[in-house]
């Protein structure tokens, strides 16, 4: 039991950092919907796997990663506005998820398995999962540090960045991919309904606290981590669902940030 807990807390730290970092990027670039389409790809994949009698989370993860990888390029290829394409996929995946669940043998059992995807659980955290999450975290960190000047230019104004010869598409696609992978991995911990909160609420708090993009990224990552760890702690303490407690924690931090920003202004340096 103790090792499960330790693993869960380590996973929560990485999950929080990842969501915090990706959240700032996708909010600034209006790529929020990538989170919806990939999360529901994971759901549809899991439902399909149950119907076929395979391992749900692996198939879910594969479908989510494929979605994150091809979403941007396909939208551009067919000249469909990215948001529209992403939200259409989101609906289609949800429809398929329901269909597969309803035709799966032993409907009730599979519905329960699906609900673990929807709500998340720390009990599903294995050491392999924690290692995978930490690898993703270091990849994202290296990516952001290595390309920070370019990313900064993109976050400031993507049209100007493009006009100056930055490969805006490549950066957007890679950010979508990394966000998609982050979302689909963290589903396991927080659940499909609530993964978005870990992605967007710490970023919102960070934007309230600072006027400096570097600080915003740091705050968002730290607050994300804090929300995830605090949420798990809360859920153990009160015996409530993990995802919901993480949202409560993140929202609590958001309120404090808003109050702080109101009275003390935003940090510039």
């Amino acid at each position: 039991m103790l090792t499960i807990l330790i693993r869960a807390f380590i996973a929560a730290i990485f999950a929080g950092f990842l969501c915090g970092l990706m959240g700032v990027h996708i909010t600034r670039l209006n790529l929020n919907t990538v989170a919806f389409s990939t999360a529901h790809a994971a759901l549809a994949g899991a439902a399909l796997a149950m119907f076929l009698g395979m391992e749900p989370s692996t198939i879910g993860l594969i479908l989510a990663i494929l979605t994150a990888l091809f979403l941007g390029p396909l939208a551009d290829l067919f000249h469909i506005p990215f948001d529209l394409f992403s939200m259409s996929l989101f609906s289609i995946y949800t429809a398929f998820a329901f269909i597969f669940i309803s035709i799966s043998p032993g409907g009730v059992i599979s519905a329960q398995a699906v609900s673990s995807i929807l709500w998340g659980s720390i009990l599903t955290v294995t050491s392999g999962y924690t290692v995978f999450l930490s690898i993703l975290f270091f990849l994202v960190l290296i990516y952001i540090i290595a390309f920070f000047p370019q990313l900064k230019s993109l976050l400031f104004d993507s049209k100007l960045a493009e006009a100056e010869g930055i490969n805006v598409k490549a950066y957007k696609y890679s950010l979508m991919f990394l966000s998609g992978v982050t979302v689909s991995l963290i589903l396991k911990l927080v659940g499909g309904f609530l993964v978005f909160s870990l992605l967007f609420i710490p970023a919102a708090s960070a934007f309230l606290l600072s006027e400096n993009i570097k600080l915003i990224l740091c705050f968002s990552a730290i607050l994300g981590s804090f929300s995830a760890v605090g949420g798990i702690f809360l859920s153990l303490l009160l015996d409530l669902p993990t995802g919901a407690c993480i949202v409560l924690m993140a929202t609590f931090i958001l309120i404090i940030s808003a109050v702080y920003a109101h009275f003390f202004g935003r940090l510039r340096k």
């Binding site: 000047p149 100007l160 010869g165 930055i166 400096n212």
Partner: protein, 228 residues
């Protein structure tokens, strides 16, 4: 003028070539620019003028490959556009029109100027950032958040960013729209010097005529070049 004269007729000195270029916006039936053919030589300083909606901005963005023409051929510094846009743009400086960021943008002036270096593989440091800001007489803005500056000040900062890149071609879209008369004269002087001393090709889009001795004035109307 001398440099331009010497290069006349030399193919390699054509830095911008447009052949029958037309661009339309998605969902619009009428093209925003139509059948534009144009050549600009190295070291020219050119004014593109005409009434609102004439297609000046569209022309600039098409040359830079930000908009894709539905017909015609474009070469920028010998690169085929928009195919090789990323390569060609590294040698360009660009000042977009009506650029204004709201208060609360999480970037200070120093960051914004430094971004100009992000795509040209040069390191930004205090030295070259200050040098660029000095040119537009805006050194005192260095640590100010960009969104808390006036439109004119923001325009100066973006001009500094474009100059910092030491471009071969400068594309300036309404660079005088927000700055006062004094700043306008200063910027005109800077541009003239840049053109004379460093042979930078400069394209200025403006519906007013600034005090610069232009090599050429291109007049546009209804998406077409009416004189050049």
């Amino acid at each position: 003028m001398v440099a331009q004269f010497a290069s006349r007729g030399n193919l390699r000195n054509r830095v911008i070539e447009l052949e029958n270029v037309s661009t339309s916006y998605a969902g619009e039936l009428k093209p925003a620019i139509k059948n534009i053919s144009l050549e600009i030589r190295k070291g020219e300083i050119v004014l593109i003028t005409g009434p609102n909606g004439a297609g000046k901005t569209t022309l600039l963005e098409t040359i830079l490959g930000l908009l894709k023409p539905y017909e015609g051929k474009i070469k920028l510094l010998g690169y085929e556009m928009p195919k090789d846009a990323i390569k060609a743009r590294k040698y360009c400086g660009y000042l977009p029109q009506d650029f204004i960021k709201p208060a609360g943008e999480p970037f200070i002036v120093k960051d914004v100027v430094a971004m100009g270096f992000a795509s040209i593989g040069k390191n930004a440091n205090n030295g070259n950032i200050l040098e660029a800001l000095k040119k537009v007489k805006a050194v005192e803005l260095l640590n100010k958040p960009i969104g808390r500056l006036s439109a004119g000040q923001q325009q100066k900062v973006l001009m500094a960013r474009a100059l910092a890149r030491q471009p071969k071609i400068l594309f300036l879209d309404e660079p005088f729209s927000s700055v006062d008369k004094e700043a306008r004269h200063e910027i005109c002087d800077i541009l003239e010097n840049l053109n004379r001393n460093e042979n930078v090709t400069i394209l200025i889009v403006s519906h007013i005529t600034p005090k610069i001795e232009f090599d050429r004035i291109i007049k546009m109307k209804n998406g077409m070049v009416i004189s050049c």
